[in-house]
């Protein structure tokens, strides 16, 4: 079913909206959640929470791209779930590895200035992404948005793992340079 139809169902408060969402984007959301949580049960819960959040958000929200709207909710919920879980123990999966890699881009240890800095940071990240060639942008997002493993990312693009590593290394370096240049580090 097309996204516009699914949105119509949400706005019609038809619960079939959830069924159609699950049919079309269940696998997509699950892959995001599983990459972060590495636990089928937790991932399924995050996906269920995603649907509930989507149901509450639409209406009034009418996302331009339904998939990424859902994906963002899943990512957010899954990271929250991972953080609360890892407060007790260190989990597996790509999330801690991705965090370690991104540690290269930031200074760390500084106290957060919360919302203001987050907004500025998000805007800077989007400017950074806008300037990247499509392939590098997609490689970067597969790793740090979707938390795909290096091997999976390499397979998506038909690259070797070392090439993916190389692209990520360059991209992180550039991100760090840009954040530094914009006074965000």
């Amino acid at each position: 079913m097309e996204d516009a139809q699914i949105l119509e169902l949400y706005f019609a408060r038809s619960e079939q909206a959830i069924v159609e969402t699950d049919t079309k984007y269940g696998g997509y959301c699950y892959s995001i959640a599983y990459n972060i949580l590495v636990n089928a049960e937790d991932a399924e819960e995050s996906v269920s929470d995603t649907y509930l959040a989507a149901w509450r958000a639409m209406p009034p929200r009418r996302p331009a791209i339904l998939a990424t709207f859902l994906g963002k909710i899943t990512r957010h919920l899954s990271i929250d779930r991972w953080r609360s879980r890892s407060a007790y123990k260190r989990g597996g999966g790509e999330m801690p590895l991705a965090l370690e890699e991104l540690g290269e881009c930031v200074a760390g240890g500084e106290s957060p200035e919360q919302a203001v800095q987050r907004k500025a940071l998000a805007a800077a990240v989007n400017r950074f992404l806008a300037a990247l060639p499509e392939t590098e942008r997609s490689v970067f997002l597969c790793r740090y948005w979707y938390f795909d493993s290096l091997a999976d990312t390499a397979e998506h693009f038909g690259f070797t793992e070392s090439k993916v590593k190389s692209i990520l290394h360059r991209t992180r370096k550039k991100l760090r340079a840009q954040l530094e240049k914009e006074g965000l580090l």
């Binding site: 119509e8 269920s48 580090l185």
Partner: protein, 682 residues
């Protein structure tokens, strides 16, 4: 800041980028399946005659209004101004819910009414979710009918018993490469008939083991007077002997133009269309009901226009209304799924192999042809031909990509820029069979030098600059590997860089490969930009330019309408002359495209192309070679409310009248533009 915060910020990446990456994760879509031409018009004529003889044509009385099973009115939260008065918002028309099954409408209306009134605040759903009690609901009730409480199960059972209906089982989903599973499991070949000039690409869908299914597809069709290019259609085939809970939704049914159309095979279908909405096809068949939702636009002379009656009737002929899905054998479904996964894997491997093989072809011309054909922006590709290694054979150098050479009449990949570790590699020729790949973009400074050898190039020296710590490094082996780099002084770095002698050259458009080279020597950077555009882009003769001093510094800016970004609407690109160098005028957020120039040198970017776009107006003031947002006004289509952000303040809800007043306060200027070819070149 820490890595966690950065991770959150990456989560706010713009949707198009996230979706772009997802497309790569999901793999490329398979090629369209071409339907073979219809075998014989004679056969069609015989079928039509047979149908006439048996009297299959029926008088059709179905209308959208008849399919209604419920209605929903959207509620919009109210915003208040500073004095506590409610800000008026648009009222939204009710949404009509329709049956997609043809039969069992009373049962569905009862079920829809129950669900509309049940658990309105969602508390039961939340409780069921938190307690896990929903897990105890039988799977088909939970997934197919979305029941999350025993009360709902009981109500559903009551309805199916009352109307003597069967329940559907849990559905099976199919990815775009698994539509063969749907067809195989249900024993059908597809849902379209062989039709001249039509191609159908089946996409994702799902089916119930009982035979009801939904399937998306992309239709490409050329009917001569009109055509559609990968128009999306969504088909639902709903068997009447089971209770189908899926409802369709549409706005006012009375606003649609509806008519019966009798197809060539004698079957009458209901067609409905409305400008700005989906086109619809409904066929009430003996055992099932088929509904098709179609993209509401077609192309006439290359322009998008609303679906015509003629076009919709022709599209209605595409669908095979004789299909009769049989119940699925679920043990076979697993086998079909495994086969589909294997086929998909093979297709991906074949695509990768094809990509690798394109580097080995009989001559540069064939390679260039492939590159141009497979590039998303072929006009942006550049090349030069140079004998890099002095063996008498010119290498083909593609900017930002790779270097090819020739051996025994065949091309081969001589050097791949991607393997070097240079972030955004730019190629530079140097004296002595040497070349450089460098990057000076976005604060990254890398300069790597290579020796062109017989059949490949080898790394010589790399110099890089760490802008964060103000440190220069040199690499003497293994390219950009940081482990091997050594810290050097700025002077030492400069000495290394100066030891290579660069050779100036101009890139040529790859589209012009094989043509005589045209020299451009104008000292005016605007003239050079326009001349290069005319040489590179086929339609640049239609591009227009204006010169205007926007920031009052005495230097005229170059404003061009070159349609490079959006082919449907002309957009403005603004560039200025900074010390003889062409410099793009950008906003702080990287916006470098505008739609209008307003009085006072204000640049406007608006999205009000048509009634379907979100009204959005942003106004920028140029300062130096940058521009700053001074005002923006936009309407949220979901709620109908207008918002304003100005002077760095948080956004606020305003009335429509206030919004229109803001928009009206910026007076657009009619640009006195001229075609590119009329630029006064020296």
């Amino acid at each position: 800041m820490n890595a966690n915060q950065l991770l959150d910020a990456i989560g706010d990446a713009k949707d198009p980028y996230v979706w772009e990456a997802q497309r790569r994760r999901a793999g490329e879509a398979p090629k369209a399946k071409a339907l073979p031409l219809r075998k014989s018009l004679l056969i069609a004529a015989v079928i039509a005659l047979t149908l006439l003889l048996v009297g299959c044509a029926v008088v059709y009385a179905l209308r959208l209004q008849d399919m209604k099973v419920g209605q929903h009115t959207e509620s919009i939260p109210t915003y208040y101004d500073e004095e506590g008065n409610a800000i008026p918002a648009q009222t939204r028309p009710p949404i009509t819910l329709i049956s997609l099954q043809g039969a069992n409408r009373e049962a569905l209306a009862e079920w829809v009414a129950f669900k509309e009134s049940y658990d309105q605040d969602g508390s039961i759903a939340i409780q069921a979710d938190n307690s896990g009690s929903a897990q105890n609901i039988p799977e088909a009730y939970r997934f197919t009918y979305d029941c999350y409480s025993q009360e709902m199960v009981d109500k559903l059972n009551e309805i199916v018993e009352k109307y003597d209906l069967k329940l559907l089982s849990t559905y099976v989903t199919c990815q775009y490469y698994e539509n063969s599973v749907l067809f195989g499991a249900l024993g059908i070949d597809g849902v379209c008939r062989d039709t001249p000039g039509a191609e159908v690409e089946y996409l994702s869908g799902y089916f119930y083991p009982e035979g009801t299914f939904s399937l998306d597809m992309a239709i490409t069709m050329d009917a001569g007077t009109w055509r559609c290019d990968s128009s999306i259609a969504s088909v639902r085939y709903s068997r009447k002997d089971s209770f189908d809970p899926v409802v369709g939704a549409l706005d006012d049914p009375d606003s649609y133009t509806q008519w019966d159309y009798t197809r060539e095979d004698g079957v009458t279908v209901l067609l409905a269309r409305k400008e700005g909405s989906w086109a619809r096809i409904y066929a009430d068949l003996p055992e099932a009901f088929l509904s098709v939702l179609l993209d509401g636009d077609i192309l006439v002379n290359g322009e998008k226009v609303p679906m015509t009656a003629e076009a919709l009737e022709q599209i209605a002929e595409l669908f095979d209304l004789t299909i009769s899905p049989h119940p699925a054998d679920m043990t076979q479904v697993e086998i079909l799924q495994a086969q589909a996964a294997e086929d998909h894997k093979e297709a991906q491997a074949a695509a990768q192999a094809e990509w690798e093989s394109h580097f080995t072809v009989s001559g540069y011309a064939e390679f260039v042809e492939y590159e141009l054909e497979h590039s998303h922006s072929p006009e942006e590709l550049s090349y030069i031909l140079r004998d890099l290694n002095g063996d008498g054979v010119e290498e083909l150098i593609i900017n930002g990509g790779e270097i090819l050479s020739l051996k025994d009449g065949e091309t081969y990949k001589y050097f791949d820029f991607d393997s070097t570790g240079v972030f955004i590699p730019h190629f530079q020729l140097c004296e002595g069979n040497l070349f450089e790949l460098y990057c000076e973009d976005f604060g990254t400074y890398q300069y790597y030098f290579y020796q062109a050898n017989g059949e490949s190039a080898s790394f010589l020296t790399g110099v890089s600059y760490d802008t964060v710590n103000d440190i220069w490094y040199v690499n003497r082996k293994d390219g950009a590997v940081t482990e091997n780099r050594q810290q050097i002084t700025k002077e030492e770095a400069q000495q290394i860089l100066d030891s290579y002698t660069r050779i100036e050259f101009d890139w040529l458009p790859l589209k012009r490969y094989g043509e005589p080279v045209v020299e451009m020597n104008d000292s005016d950077p605007y003239a050079k930009y326009i001349a290069k555009s005319l040489y590179r882009y086929d339609n640049a003769g239609n591009y227009r330019y204006t010169r205007m001093d926007l920031n009052g510094d005495g230097v005229e800016e170059l404003i061009t309408q070159d349609a490079l970004i959006n082919q449907q609407y002309l957009l403005l690109r603004v560039q200025t002359n900074v010390d003889g160098k062409l410099t793009a005028v950008k906003t702080g957020t990287g916006v470098d495209i505008f739609t209008h120039v307003c009085e006072g040198g204000i640049l406007e970017y608006s999205e009000d192309y048509d009634e379907n776009s979100h009204p959005y107006h942003a106004y920028y003031q140029m300062t130096g070679d940058k521009c700053l947002l001074v005002d923006s006004v936009f309407q949220d289509r979901g709620s109908g409310y207008w918002y304003r952000m100005s002077g760095g303040k948080e956004g606020e809800v305003i009335t429509e009248q206030e919004a229109l007043s803001v928009i009206g306060s910026y007076k657009r200027i009619e640009l006195d533009s001229k075609p590119f070819p009329e630029y006064p070149f020296r």
